[in-house]
Symmetry: none
Subunit: 215 residues, 4 copies
């Protein structure tokens, strides 16, 4: 029984190793530019061994995507209860995003979330989408709450703003080469830029005519 458990754990470890290696490579070079051979070399396994743990390349990709989504979700739900009002919640959400990026930079330092053309619909795809939909609802709910409690500008559209915030965060983290170039040209660190973006975003949504704030 214990032996089985240990083996199970070891197997899970190997899976994680492979995902870690694949992640690193996908993030650096993009899905189609990473071969199974590359992943094998990175993990110091044989090409064929990878197939003991994952059915194929797509499954590896999806496992990574799911892993990322789950980690992010966990980070959010952990900090969330401490937020007392809508704006606070949004701030927590943004910071969770930010923290996620800092602890698992790969998920955002790549164009990982882009367009992988999958022929078949994988069952994993559904799971992934469920997680994402749920995460998104959390954001919209926070906006609605903020409007009600007066901490967020009442003239914003919760859904659109959620999209705007989410997209901006994702992309402020996941820079295009062009933006990266400008950043370097102007001696800015990525962190400075992100901090600034968070400020700008908060500024654009908070309610300045809020009587409770003024008082």
């Amino acid at each position: 029984m214990t032996i089985t458990a240990r083996k199970e754990r070891e197997k899970e470890m190997r899976k994680k190793d492979i995902l870690g290696a694949a992640e690193k490579l996908f993030f650096k070079k993009g899905y189609e530019n990473v071969s199974m051979a590359d992943i094998a070399k990175e993990t110091e396994l044989a090409r064929s061994t990878l197939y003991l743990y994952f059915k194929n390349k797509e499954e590896i990709y999806l496992a990574i995507a799911i892993r990322g989504s789950k980690i992010l979700q966990k980070m959010v739900t952990k900090k969330y209860p401490k937020a007392k009002n809508g704006l606070e919640k949004i701030r927590v959400l943004i910071l969770a995003f930010y923290q996620f990026y800092k602890e698992y930079p790969g998920y955002y330092l790549s164009r990982f979330y882009y367009n992988i053309p999958f022929d078949e619909d994988f069952p994993e795809m559904e799971e992934l989408n469920k997680i994402r939909v749920e995460s998104f609802k959390t954001v919209t709910n926070a906006f609605n709450e903020g409007i009600k409690d007066g901490t967020i500008r009442p003239d914003i559209d919760p859904v659109k703003t959620s999209l705007y915030i989410t997209s901006s965060m994702q992309n402020m983290i996941n820079l295009t080469p062009t933006i990266e170039m400008h950043m370097k040209d102007n001696d800015l660190t990525h962190e400075e830029l992100i901090d600034y973006t968070v400020e700008m975003m908060i500024h654009s949504i908070q309610n300045n005519n809020n009587s409770s704030t003024l008082k």
Copy 2:
């Protein structure tokens, strides 16, 4: 001399044809999922003929990127003179971006600007970068002007905000699949979302305590 000139022009035409075809395909399917055979079929040329006009696939990619940057630059400089103050200029810039996207959607509706793993440093790369640097300076200058003339919040950082605005626009246009999914789930069109983003961005930079505006 005239003959040479004509030939030159014809050659230039062919190059444009090829770039047009490649552009269309790259935008639709992504760089690595487009083969030279695909481009050849689209142009109705032989695969090998493409190599008379471009050294290799990467060169085609770079030519397209340069072309896009030039078009965008032209659009900006055309509308720019009409803007009377800093904020106006920023608005013009944002709208130029937007118009560019609408007229040449491919440049943004694809992961075009991302992650092409080029081994060697291409000479074209430099040209491309020059154009981009110049474009970026235009934006920062507009911010500086806006701060001086009081149309833009004085507490913003021109460089950082330029990056924020540029990046946000780029990415609001070039959505990740996740964002796209949420958009569909909430019955929003891409255009609605972009319009909203533009509004939000303007709102976050304009100077509300501006006496000239108040009058």
Copy 3:
């Protein structure tokens, strides 16, 4: 000693299980389209366990071939004593073939006897051949007997006819796709066809001028 014996028996049982599973699969899909993994799954053993009982895939194949030959041989020798003359014996042989096919259809409904590219000469191959040579002698002997006792046409060549009969039976049972197609096109069952073939074969060898028959 008893323990060893039991173990031996158990080992023999396992071998049979494996052969049974392999047989079923080989017959259904053909030797090269069956993987060791398939056999393992069918037997509910681990892939590697198969190698405890058989040196490799080829050995499994040969064991099955030998088993089949032995079964056929047993069937023949069982019915054989009842036949009173040469023609009767041939009829018994043909029917034994037929019965074998019906009870162990796989041995013939597959391309089992064909084209396995074995590099090395296996010791099992010899055993297999011995059995087959012996079986064949039985057939030739029956023909010789039939010629002597006047039940079979005296102008036939016993060896050649043995080959003709054996080959025809084998192949009438193991149809080519083409023949199968024609069969379906003409609404014939496989059984009807075999019955007819048996008749035709008997007709082509029996002695019609046989005085003993006439009387």
Copy 4:
């Protein structure tokens, strides 16, 4: 125009070369035991070059099967007119088969016609089947004619006998390893065996009570 024609011919030649090589290998080792690399080596072309001439391995297989069927058909129709009655026609058909085997032994010296598991239905498959159906009709027609003109036993079934004859011929030519072994053990050549089979087959179908024959 002439140049195009020559190129066309050369291309056709190459195709034939490839088919020839593939044929030889398929016949010797069986479809699944021949790799594209094998064919490439045989033709002294690069592996990838094969794909310029055939879409994939299956297409090569089908091309060979069609080629064989067409050659056989041509052989039959060439000799056919000379046959004056039904039995003669059958004899011509059998001999055409025989000649085909001698001139293009590969088509029969292998289990070429057996079970290749194709996933998709190839358009070529239809063509192949049409040819085969037509060929088969020729045989049945000859039997019907023979029954009418009294040269063939009236108590035979034309369709079943056609199948019996066709199958026997195919298989007498395309021996199983077992039969081949017996042949060698008894110092018989393949040709002797075939000759004998033809005789036996003719004997089993001809009408011995035929008055026209008796006269």
